[in-house]
Amino acid sequence: MRKILSRLSVHAYVALFFLVLAIVFYFLIPYQIGKPKMVFGRNLMDMKPTLFPTLAALCLGAMCVLSVINSYIEPEENPFKDMNWASFRKIAGLIGILYVFALMFEPIGFLISGIIIVGFASFYLGNRSPIMIAILAVSVPSTIYFVFIKLLKISLPEGLLY
């Protein structure tokens, strides 16, 4: 058993994760899909509403099992083996910036949150010229705001400017 586990790569564990998802999805089907509509005691469609989701879950499960077997027969390289952890931390930071932007977008407004995020992101990614950061932070969201609102007549959240 230990030998089998030692041959399983990261890819196999990912396939197992999807297998668990498929199993959970399969067991959720009766609770997340309502009973079909009946007209004069007859179902409108010959196909049960649970059939297609069941097939999809079974297919995913089967593909995941094949993927685990494939990963065991031909072990693949661990993609994180030679990873540059400094870049990983940078990317994690960027994900944080994205989530903050998503939270700020409507309440604070596109223009103000855009200026903050563009300036901060540019600095975070290595730009050290305050003038260029300021120019970028103001010009990019303003240009997009102008194009969307004035030219294309698409609304963006005003937020604090309203």
Binding site: P49, S87, F101, A102, V118, L125, N127, P141, I144
Partner: protein
């Protein structure tokens, strides 16, 4: 009637705003294509929301312009610094950089331009002629055949995806599962919403596409910039002698051969530009009287690769427009644009919206002629942006991604979908899962379920007998799918055992 639609389409195509936005799209595509690591797909995903607010004869040609510009734009860094800007330009790196080293950078860039335009324009004209007969055949297709074709298309896209075929199938089936969130297409019952109001109409496609295609590019760009900087091209690498007519004439046969190959490959869903470029290059080398010069800086090598990869552009629209089945990420994005403009791709598209469709296709042909002029003048400009710093570009992409995701429904929930899809897309990329089958299956999932539902109704219960007696073509395709999966998997394993795994030279793993 179709001839009248075609003539009307010619009149409709000639609008100043169509040409204006198409030119803008071409330049934008070239800009993004010239940046190593940023793909045309990302650019198209970012500007897709903008196209929703334009007239269909402006918005869709705009997207097509971005696509075409991007495919050529990828050849600029490929030639100047041996780094393909897009996967389509990998084969261009075999001869392009050597030509630059010899001081013939400008010649190579011009050859790439002319070969691209000829390949693209020829295949676009072919597409216009093919659309009509294939649409006529597609009108004979019913729900059983459509379901069978969709299943086959998903299998092919999964098999052709980067990463292993099984991983492609995992992504495709996961995409099918995601497509079930929201409403049942047959009886419109809510399912898998977990009580959430936002999920009642399903997972929104636009933020998901932008998240899967654009956000991972940003993260990969950060990773690369921290590992290795993109080296600057030699000074005035894009300058030098211009291409002579006799040099161009010498390559005409190669361009023609590559165009034919690329056109054929373009009609097969999921195969794409990199395969066409390699096929065109290999065919040119085999047919050459002096194959030893290929790889040493031969203009024919550049012409062969570029003509082939651009010749794919037009025919990829054939399965999309006639059957409503996108064959790759680019056509998945174009499908979104067509649907947003009320043009539902499928067998009835030409019948219901003939003039508009022909106008779009004619605009596509005209884009090539616009492109020659625009690109010829702007080559020196785009040659300079190859080393543009990431900390200028990435914030711009972030703001565009967020604003584009928000505008379709003005719902902050879409921004959360964007972030989650972005993280998922990056993780998938690191783990060598291609997200193209996922997006394809997500788009086609509801159509597939609806078609299967209609088939069971038509079969009155006994689907198996019905398929193999009254709808034999559909039955045969369904029966062939597991055989095809088995054969492809067996061949993939054999190829990997022989160590013939294709190593991608492009930085990142997306191919467009």
């Amino acid at each position: 009637m179709l001839w009248d639609s075609f003539i009307e389409g010619i009149y409709l195509a000639f609008r100043w705003d169509t040409f204006g936005f198409m030119s803008l799209g071409l330049m934008l595509g070239m800009f993004v294509g010239a940046l190593p690591g940023f793909t045309t797909v990302m650019a198209m995903a970012l500007v897709l929301p903008l196209s929703f607010f334009m007239h269909p004869l402006v918005g869709i040609p705009f997207l097509i312009g971005v696509y075409k510009g991007g495919i050529y734009g990828g050849s600029i860094p490929a030639i100047l610094i041996s780094v393909p800007g897009t996967g389509a330009a990998i084969a261009t790196t075999f001869d392009g950089p050597k030509l630059t080293q010899k001081g013939h950078g400008r010649k190579a860039l011009e050859m790439a331009l002319f070969a691209s335009v000829i390949g693209d324009a020829s295949s676009d004209i072919f597409t216009i002629f093919m659309i009509v007969p294939i649409s006529m055949i597609a009108l004979l297709i019913g729900p059983p055949e459509l379901a069978a074709i969709i299943v086959l298309a998903l299998v092919i896209v999964a098999a052709a995806s980067t990463g292993s075929m099984i991983k492609g199938m995992v992504m495709a089936t996961f995409g099918l599962m995601l497509s079930m969130v929201g409403q049942d297409p047959l009886e419109f019952m809510s399912r898998f919403t977990f009580g959430s109001l936002q999920l009642k109409s399903g997972i929104p496609l636009l933020p998901m596409m932008i998240g899967l295609f654009a956000i991972p590019e940003i993260m990969a760009a950060i990773e690369r910039s921290m590992e290795v900087g993109v080296k600057a091209p030699p000074k005035d690498a894009h300058a030098g002698e211009r291409l002579r007519f006799w040099e161009f004439k010498r390559c005409l046969r190669t361009i023609a051969r590559s165009t034919l190959l690329g056109t054929f490959i373009g009609t097969v869903p999921g195969v794409g530009q990199p395969v066409a470029a390699f096929a065109g290059y290999a065919a040119a080398k085999n047919a050459s009287d002096h194959p030893e010069t290929f790889g040493q800086g031969d203009l024919e090598g550049v012409a062969a690769a570029e003509a082939a990869n651009n010749a794919v552009n037009g025919p990829t629209l054939v399965p999309l427009l006639t059957l409503g089945i996108p064959g790759d990420k680019v056509t998945a994005i174009l499908l979104g644009a067509f649907v947003a403009h009320g043009l539902r791709p499928g067998p009835m598209l030409i019948v219901d919206n003939g003039p508009t469709v022909f106008a779009i296709l004619i605009a596509m042909v005209m884009a090539n002629f616009l492109f020659i002029g625009l690109a010829y003048i702007s080559i020196p400009l785009f040659a300079r942006i190859v080393t543009l710093k990431r900390f200028y570009l990435i914030p711009i992409i972030i703001v565009l991604a967020f604003s584009g995701s928000y505008v379709s429904r003005s719902d902050p929930f879409d921004l959360q979908v964007l972030c989650i899809a972005g993280v998922f897309g990056y993780a998938a990329r690191k783990l060598e899962f291609d997200v193209a089958p996922l997006v394809m299956a997500f788009i086609l999932g509801q159509i597939l379920e609806y078609s299967i539902g209609q088939t069971t109704n038509m079969a009155s219960g006994n689907v198996f007998v019905y398929l193999f007696t009254e709808r034999l073509s559909a039955g045969v395709i369904f029966a062939l799918v597991p055989v095809l999966v088995g054969v492809m998997w067996y061949r993939t394993i054999k190829r990997r055992k022989r160590g013939e795994k294709l190593k991608s030279k492009v930085i990142g793993e997306d191919f467009a």
